[in-house]
Amino acid sequence: MIWLTWRQARTQTLVAMAALAAVAVALLVTGLNLAHLYDSSGIAGCTANCDSFRETFLNDADGGFTGIVYHLAIVLMYVVPPVIGVFWGAPLIARELESGTYRLVWNQSVTRTRWLAAKLLGIGLVGVAVTGLLSLAVSWSAAPVDRVSLNRLDPNVFASRGVVPLGYAAFAFVLGVVAGMLIRRTVPAMAVTLAVVAAAQILMPTVIRGHLIPPTHKTVALDAQHLKGFGISEQGQRMEVRGAYSDPGAWLMDVTTVRPDGTDFTGPANQEACNRDTSPKNCMDWLATLNLRQSVTYHPASDFWPLQWVEGGLFAGLAALMALFCFWWVRRRLA
């Protein structure tokens, strides 16, 4: 069964390997280049003016071939799992059902369970391995930038690093297989797979990820030093206060301005201190007298790996459940 699985998947595997090799070369060049830029930027040994060194480095890293590869690598990590689901997962069973070849292969001296196991585990593991190697290469290549910009928790970057892409790849692949089994036609199964994986990729950062592990809450004072600015509505009824709070590497989910008694502060503004004719300084001074605080909900940089393992594990778990369903279905219902 392994031979047949390999023979049927030979072309796609070789194409994937060739693509992986090409991408790996680009990432290697970029990674060495970024490492060199980092070493020569002076960030490592800096004692003063570090921020400007950082800025110079990030500007240099963002330019030319290096910058293009850095950004494309992030895009690639989002594209690979749906591609595996759509082009490897969905046709895996659907094509056999559609073309009728299941009637040939299910009458060889191999049970359907073994047939499915070889296909699901064989191709699935190749897909996850390809994604894993890519993730490793991308994470290594982008490490100098990650170290300086500290944005690995950024929703755009998070799922292109670490173990999360592997979970997505496994999920997308098995989802494709399930869709193909239930729909029994390749092209609709591909469409459904793409839609569901894309939905998961959008829902995770916008709705779900922040709550996978409990976020940290913190209240910081909004005194004269920390006040950074404010916005005010036409009539002065509503007010928005910006603080100087920053936590490098953290993913800020929610920042609310609260009064000393804990209620939300949204205005109104003091008409005397904050009107069109007074200087903003007057208004800031007035704000400073209110003893406002900022209530911050966030994931600190140290939540990166816990979040990675939980999200990766969540999708790996979903993939495992769907795989069990596949085995049940192929034995009980697909007849």
Binding site: W3, R7, Y102, R103, W106, S109, A335
Partner: protein
Amino acid sequence: MTAVLEAVGLTKRYGRRRALSDCTLSLPAGRVVGLVGPNGAGKTTLLHLACGLLKPTSGTVAVLGSAPASGPDQLARVGFVAQDTPTYPGLSIEDHLRFGAHLNPRWDNALARRRVDSLGLDPAQRAGKLSGGQRAQLALTLAIAKRPDLLILDEPVASLDPLARRDFLRALMEFVAEHGASVVLSSHLVTDLERVCDYLVVLASSRVQVDGDVDELLATHHRLVGARRDADDLPAGQTLLEASHTDRQSTLVVRGDSPTDDPSWEVEPLNLEDLVLSYMSLAANAGRTPVLEASR
């Protein structure tokens, strides 16, 4: 002699549609069994149930004494050539033989190679480029090289031209002669089966209409021609299958252990095709009768 296929009350429903109703059947071993019936009669359903591609809604079926597709051993003992003889279009003939060898412990490689040679096929050719006849031969090669005790073929020659049809059936009979396997093959044309079958099952309207040894069936079915009379007026010991009347003459197709000796009937032998047609029209009429009664 044990049965190669033993079905009891076998029923398969798709939603509300019955594809096979209450089929009870015992097919003897060592025979070439023809399964004949019109399109949509349930032939494919019955054969798919027999090789485990389908599960019955109710009833049981045992093939070579065990449940179909119950394990690798059972799968190894039953060969199946599906309708339209599916093969992998992207794989070469060589690839097909290799996967056959990998997936079947009883694989007879010499037999497979010999057959591909004698068919004049190029092993490097992709199955997708083969003609219908060549593809059918490849599918048959895969099925017989696994050396099954029972070979099931679903309308194997339906899409073949007469020459390919003859070659295919000849190849099938060679295999039977050499290895003594039992065969069940289906067709909607009796003429395809006539030359190769020695046991016949007529399936129509999702039910088994009749089954038996071909010679026995021919010996017990006759056409009676005589002066016009009521269809009820049958000679003793005969069951009426089909009656047709002209102004002066009645023609009955009957089943009975021996032909009648009533001199007012002229007894004619029935060929296999007429016999099958009689059962098919019997089944078709049985389905229609209640409608007529309701409209009266």
